[in-house]
Structure formats: C-alpha cells, structure tokens
Amino acid sequence: MMPMSDVLTRIYNSFDPFRPLPAGDPVYVECREVRGDNNVFVDLGNEIRRSESKATCQLYVGHRGAGKSTELLRLKQHLEENGCFVVYFEADDQDVDPEDAEYVDILLASTRHLLEDLKAADSQPLRSWLRDRWRSFEDLMLTEISFDKLPVEAQLSQFGKLSTAIRATPTLRQEIRRRVNPHTPSLIDALNQFIADGKKKLPSGKTQLVVIADNLDRIVPIPDNTGRTNHDDIFLERSGQLKALNCHLIYTVPISMVYSKRANDLKDTYGNAQVLPMIMVKTREGQIHPPGFAKIKEVITRRIQAATAGTGYEGLPVDQEIFESAEVIQRLCEMSGGHIRELMLLCKEAINRVDVLPIPARAAQRAITEARDTYRRTVQSEEWAKLAGVAASHRIDNDEAYRELLFRRCVLEYRYFDREGEMQCWYDVHPLIRGIDEFKLALQKVSQE
C-alpha cells in the first residue's frame, strides 16, 4: 500500500486548474443535462456537419474555467471522426496577448495556424500578399534580405513572426497593427484563396475545414473613452472580417459579450451564441438540485478514483474516507457554484490543510474562507448593491456594470429546460459571495426596499 502522504500528493495533483482535459480522458464527466442541455456535438458540431459546403461562424461562450476548452477538444475529436479537418489553436498560446488584444492579432493568428496545418495547400496567394507589402514590413522583421531571396518556408514564417511580435513585443505591437490594418481585406482574400486550395487537398476522408480559435475569452475588456471596449470592436465592429474566412469557424467569446447593450447585434451577426453555463447545483429557489449535485460530485470522485488507482486506497467511499462526511463534499460542491475550476481550487485548498485522510470539515471551511477572500477583493464597494439585486431578482441588466461582474465571475449563469420544454436562463451571485458581510448588508437593504 502506498504511504498516505503520497496518495494525498496524487489526489492534490489530480485537481489541476490549468490544463483542459484531452478528449477521451477518463476523468471527464458529461454534464449536458445540468448545463441547459449544452452539447457541443449537437450545438456546434451539427451546424457544421449539416451546412455542407457553406461556411459557418459560431461563437462559444462561457465563464473562464467552466470547461470550454475541454468541450472544444472533445468537439475537435468528434469532428475529425466525422470527415472534418480541424485547425485548433489556443489564441493566447503564441499569438494573442489577452491583456491587450485587437482584431488584427486574431486574423494574423488564424493565418499562421492555417499555414502551419494546411501544408498541402498552395501558399502563393499569401506569399504575394506579403511580397506586395514587404517594403512596409521590412524594418519590423529585422531582416535585410529581399523577400524573393527568402526560401518559401522562410517567406511563410514571416506571418508567424508578425504574429509572435504582436504578442511578445509590446513596443512593436501598435506599429504592426497600424501597418496591417488597412490591408486586412486583401489579406482575407489571399487567405481565402489559400483555404479554397487547401480544401481541395484535404487528407482523404476529410471534406470540411474547421478552425477553432480557443481562449479568446481570456481577452480582458479595455474600455476606451466612450465606454466601448475592445470586445465590442473585435466581435461586433469587425465581425464582417471575423466571419469572412471561407471555412467553418468557432471562436470562444467572453461571456460578458453576450450581455452587452448590443447583444441583439451579436445575435444578428452570429446567430445564437452557444453558451456553456454553470453546472446547476442549486435551483433558482436556492434548493440543492440533485442531478447537478450528483454530476459535480462525480467530477470529484472520478479524479479521486484516477488518483488513487493502484495505491491501495482505490474504491474508498468518497464521502467517508476521502472527505470526512457527505456534508463536507456537498459544501465544497455547493460553494463552487457549479464552476469546474473553482471546484478544483477549493479541493486543492482543502487538501493543503490536511496530512491524513479523510479531509475534515474544518479544512473545507478554511478553503471556503480563503476563496471567499478572493471574491471580497474582486468586488468594488459600489458593486455590492448590484450583486444583492441579482440575488433577489436572478436577472441582470444589459449594461457594462453587469458585464464586468460576469467577466469577474461574481455573477454566474445557469440554464435549464422547464416542463414545457422552454429554455430558462437565470443568474445568481457566486455562492462564495453570499457569505461576505458586505453582501449580506446590501441584501438586507434590498429586501427592506
């Protein structure tokens, strides 16, 4: 039998907040029925599979850490098994700086990844585009060599260089954008010619080309002087261009975007965005929702099962031997608000407080206190009243203040289908916020009014 301290280490490391699950991972839990019937295969996948040759552009929306990347990786595999060639990239991995992002960055990132993945396609249109503008980029590329003297590979790698420079070199960032911006229509044209040729040369069995740009939801909203944000600019003002690539497109979008004053514009432009809501652990009335609760508990148990496999601790009842009581695990699940990454953090914090199993209530409570502090620091003083309003009405207004609260995960979104089969969408403050004194005070005021 493995020493208990090593088992704890394995359990601790199985609650990983920074790595999405690869498709087919055994610890993955299918939660569609408690996430408003959200199913990437149906919601996003079918649109692509049924569209035949017509290009589609879809938005995938959800709170940070809700599990979007995990779902998209599953979708990727599913599409690949169904005749699609998928170019998937994490936009912020090499190309986009989430703290200062603009549309051009995304276009360049898409170009670079298409070039990398569609090796068979004729890159001539893109190379000519770059050649025609070489003189204006030359000084930025730090190369003395004339474009035509570069080997084809090196010519193409210049796209990557531009993209990387935008992300990694803040001083060059504005300059590159300024120079590329006027030429985006011609870049899109060139890219579409490249895509058209690429589609003809897809590996056998593949008939569709899909681009999935993940992690765009990490882009931090930056308001300008008029109160508009870079989100508005990227996803609305530039939507024509964002949609213009002649293949199937899926972009992840910050959840706050769907609640802007211009939500209708967004809908007109992209159709209904597919939202990945929280796992509904409680009902709107504040009662435990058993199916949601069972799912999120399964998220914990699967990870513990995987971590304890072969240690001699496998198969222990989770709500006695791993956690001290059913109440402890219930409380952690409840406090996560149905948010997967929050759950990972709470479990890690709780495990940090113990040397032996089972994990006692005190450790869980300590984890909750710690997590609550983060939310106390997240909320600005004038926001408590707004949060109290959300707690009372379970609704949000379409204005900047609430978008911010959604972005910071102080307000969470839940969805379910009622008895008539109607989709019901409701909001609640993060359960960790409910225990904060400032919030309680604000809630009292609201109920007195």
Partner: protein, 430 residues
C-alpha cells in the same frame, strides 16, 4: 450522521503556524509546474524563505528578485544557472512594477473619474510577459513559482490578470505580527506630509496609497492607528485631487475618532472643493464646536457662506476668524469683498486697508480695493489702487482691460493711460 453541526457561513481564521504548514504541504506535493501566491510583507520575506528551506530539505529552492525595470520574466527564469534543478522558485518584488500604472490606482479605489480619465491601457511589462508566457512556463519549466506579494498586488492580479490568478494552486496569507506593524506604521507615518504629497509624482503617491491600504487591511492594527492612517490617506487623496475618495477616507476616520477637529476641518475643505457648501459649513461647525479658536475654520466657513450668498452670516464668520486672529489678512480681504457685494463700500475699503496694513504687498487686496472704489464711483482712488496692484503684479493690467468692475471708470483718461501703458507696439499704435 454528523453529531456536531457546522456553521458554514462562519469565517475560519487561521494562525500563521497553520498557514505555514499548509504552504509547506502545497509545496511538497506540487509535482512540476505550479503557481502559488503568498501574501506577506517585505520584512518577512527572508524569514519565510529560510523557514521553507528548512522544512523542505529535499527540494531545491531558489529565488528571483524583480525590480521596477524587470520586463522579461520568462527569460529571467530561463537564464537561472541552476534552472534544471530548481523545484521551487520564490519570486520577489513584482509589486515594484505596478506603482507606475494608472489602473493600480483604480484597483486601489481612486476613481474620481470626473477629474481624471483613467486608462486601462498599458500593462506593466513584467506582468504582460508573465501572462503571455504562462503556457510556456507550464510547458517548459518543472518549477513551482511562489509569488511573494503585498495585498494590493494580489488585488491587482485579481482584477487585471484574472486568468493568471485562476491558475493558482493556492493563496497563503501571513498578516504582519505586532512588531512588524509598529515598524511599518512608523515608517509610513514619518515619510511625507501633505506638502510633500503635493510635490510627489503619481507613482510616488500610488506607492504610498498601496502601503497605507495594505497596512489598513492588517487584522492586528489598533483602531487609533487606523484612524491616523485614514487621515493620512485623505491627505494623500486630496493632494491628488481625488476629492471623493478623500471625503470617504475622512468619514471612515471620523467614525473611529469623531473628536478630531482637524479631520472635520479637512472634511469641510473637501466638501467645499466638491461645491457641497451647506455640508461644508456643517463640517466647519463640528470642527469649531471642538476647537472654537481655529480661525482658518471660521474663515473657510465664511467663504462657503459667501458662495451661498449668505453675506451677513459670512461677515459674521469672518469677524469670528478675526476675533481669534486679527492678523488673518485673507479674512480681512474676503470680508471686504462681501461688504462690497452688499454695497457697503466704506466698510469694505476699511476691511481691505486692514488686510494691507498686515500685508502691504497683497496685490489681490489692492486690486479688490480698486474695484470697490470704481463701483463706488471714486475714479481717482480706484486708479491709484489699481496702479499699486499692477506694480505688484502686471497681470492685473490685462485683467482690468475686460473686468466689468471697472465699467464705471473705463472712459476715464487716466484709467486708459494706466491700462495701455507699456502695452506692446501694435496696441500702442491703435
């Protein structure tokens, strides 16, 4: 089956020893990459690192010191000579790069947006780098990064780099011990006064703002000191024209220590700046109820009454100021203005003369006196006073050219001569 019932809403405070044990567990258990945040103050960093090393002899532990000029975190880590061996890397000094940024102020609650338009643009380079490179950090380094930060920097990360903060495997907090608080309080309190704050750069003010706020968040701070720090914070905010913030700092301080005349006085001044005159008068009254001999409070109270056009009461208030301090030339001068508004010219002139007897080179009083004589239709006296004012400060010549106060005497030759005198050529030719 639980026998004891748990109050889950209850906050469960921790002890430093417990918190330290939890940190040790997290560090021991982390295999490979990880991000951990530790809140502690500067002075305790060394001790903390030493204790961690003692407790985890099996781990290779190093530290990386960042400065305000550090920009490339990834490179700094890559260049560490023993990088391959390091299991745990303490990262110190990230806070230094945050002070120069407008948004830090916003995170710290300075939001007088009417006065400043805050920009969220421009991210501290080191933080941008950290955020951009974090996938590479995860993929390329088998290191658990432990960021040692003060509270404000943690708040900053929560607001400005939420996704990066989300990657943490834990946050551990070590509030200051009593002696550390004493030391830090003395240091913060000794360094700088209102006049210094006025001269400081935004970055300097921001640093001080962060330091005071962090100290205010310390659980073991006494209420007296809390009040003192809040007064200091109000001074700092007022110096930065953050009047709304200054006001709320003062209110908070006055809740703790209502018998502080200086705070009531400052509150009055701040309210006056915000053009909330009635409330300003209330605050001056509170200050004067405790300390009736503060002539500046009577004087400023007079100014607020004047702006409300309650002239008789204003005169009364200036009189009170002068009863305490007959040498308050500003009070004599403003009293003169109010009397002039009431067209009590003789008394007004008398009041200006009192100001000028105390301060013969008070150009403002000469100018006001000139206006007064002009309204009173005494051209010679008006011109004589205006001449004094212009001799002391030539800007009054320009002012007199358009000031309607002189409409009565504008056609007078000597007035014309005086305000045209020494004017530039083109005007002279005209």
């Amino acid at each position: 089956m639980t026998v004891h019932s748990i109050d889950w809403d209850e906050e469960l405070p921790t002890t430093p020893a417990e918190e330290f044990q939890a940190l040790i567990r997290a560090l021991r258990r982390t295999q490979g990459f990880g991000i951990i945040f530790v809140r502690c103050n500067d002075a305790d960093e060394e001790t903390l690192i030493r204790s961690v090393k003692e407790n985890l002899p099996q781990k290779t532990i190093d530290q990386l010191q960042l400065t305000a000029d550090s920009t490339n975190f990834y490179e700094a880590v890559e260049n560490l000579p023993n990088r391959e061996q390091i299991n745990i890397l303490f990262v110190r000094g990230l806070k230094h790069s945050l002070y120069a940024y407008e948004q830090t102020k916003r995170v710290l609650g300075w939001t007088d947006s009417e006065i400043h338009s805050y920009s969220w643009k421009g991210v501290p380079k080191i933080l941008a780098n950290l955020n951009q490179q974090r996938d590479r950090l995860r993929n390329n380094f088998n290191i658990c990064f432990v960021f040692l930060l003060p509270l404000f920097a943690i708040k900053y990360l929560i607001h400005r780099a939420p996704d990066f903060y989300d990657w943490r495997s834990g946050i551990f907090e070590f509030p200051m011990e009593k002696e550390a608080i004493d030391r830090e309080f003395d240091r913060v309190f000794q360094e700088g006064s209102y006049d210094d704050y006025l001269a400081w750069t935004d970055t300097q003010r921001c640093r001080k703002l962060a330091e005071i706020q962090d100290l205010l968040a310390e659980p073991h701070l006494s209420l007296d000191w809390k009040a003192v720090l809040l007064f200091e914070l109000a001074d700092l905010a007022y110096a930065a024209s953050e009047n709304t913030t200054a006001l709320s700092n003062l209110d908070e301080a006055l809740k703790l220590k209502p018998n502080t005349p200086k705070a009531w006085y400052n509150k009055g001044i701040t309210l006056y700046e915000l053009e909330r005159y009635e409330e300003a008068i209330d605050s001056y009254d509170k200050a004067l109820a405790i300390k009736p001999d503060k002539d500046k409070a009577w004087y400023n109270r007079g100014n607020a009454l004047r702006d409300l056009e309650r002239y008789e009461e204003a005169i009364d208030s200036y009189d009170k100021a002068l009863a305490v301090n007959i040498g308050n030339d500003a009070a004599w001068n403003n009293r003169g203005n109010v009397l002039r508004n009431l067209e009590r010219y003789e008394e007004a002139i008398d009041s200006y003369d009192k100001a000028l007897a105390i301060k013969p080179d008070k150009d403002k009083a000469w100018y006001n006196k000139a206006c007064c004589y002009s309204q009173w239709n005494r051209p010679d006296k008006a011109i004589e006073s205006l001449q004094h004012a212009i001799e002391l400060n030539p800007e009054y010549r320009e002012m007199a050219k358009t000031d309607s106060e002189f409409n009565n005497i504008r056609s007078h030759d000597r007035f014309k001569a005086l305000i045209e005198e020494d004017s530039d050529q083109s005007e002279a030719i005209e």
